[in-house]
Point group: C2
């Protein structure tokens, strides 16, 4: 039987031990709206029709409590993840200027063979955060 349809990505996850620093970066610098926060566990941000979830893996990488009303499966990665924001091509120069004005180091800024431009920075947990035009993927 063929798979039922999917609409798109609803949630992407990154991990960070310092959630306050993550919030200062994603909300304070990137301007994303905080839509949920639980101290020591997570902070979530709206990104268009989807949501970026940032978890402290030490708080989430365990099974749910037996009988929990919300038996959320455990997960929690370590090391440097990756996430890419879709940005209209005409706003990439503005993003680069904005990031540099905020003191964020631009680690890379180049065009792919198809002409699409990507700008890369690090979040405070060293996750690789990319800003790319949607044409990167056609």
């Amino acid at each position: 039987m063929p798979a039922p349809p999917v609409l798109g990505t609803l949630e992407s996850a990154l991990y960070a031990a310092d959630l306050d620093a993550a919030e200062a970066f994603y909300s304070g610098i990137l301007g994303l709206q905080v839509i949920a926060r639980q101290a020591g566990r997570h902070v979530f941000f709206r990104v268009g029709a989807s949501v970026l979830l940032v978890f402290d893996p030490s708080a989430t990488d365990h099974p749910p409590q037996p009988g929990a009303a919300l038996p959320v499966p455990g997960h929690g990665a370590h090391g440097r993840g990756h996430y890419c924001l879709s940005v209209a091509a005409e706003h990439l120069d503005g993003w680069r200027a904005h990031l540099e004005e905020a003191g964020v180091t631009v680690e890379a800024d180049f065009r792919w063979p198809n002409g699409a431009r990507s700008i890369y920075v690090r979040d405070p947990a060293e996750n690789s955060v990319e800003f790319a035009e949607p044409g990167l993927w056609g």
Copy 2:
């Protein structure tokens, strides 16, 4: 200066040492279209307007070669990540049946306080993969 606008999520990343197993799961069972593949490094899938990237972290967690034409910053996480597909509420029963028919264990299936339903499974690398209706996030 306020941050320039973002359109949404363009790329989400998961990590898996066995990329063939990842492809068999995300393409063979979930039905996602493979849009790029590099043996031993990555396999990418289209998910609506965004892309799910699955990397072998042993191949990506190092700096780009000096002078590389495409100086892609290194990243690569270990452990159990998380990703959530947006699925119309009326297709969640069909997704559960499809997953079970494919031999995928449903780890959790419950409704959040706002009534939105989530179904959770594991990919072959133990990443937590969720199917949820977009109303989960309003």
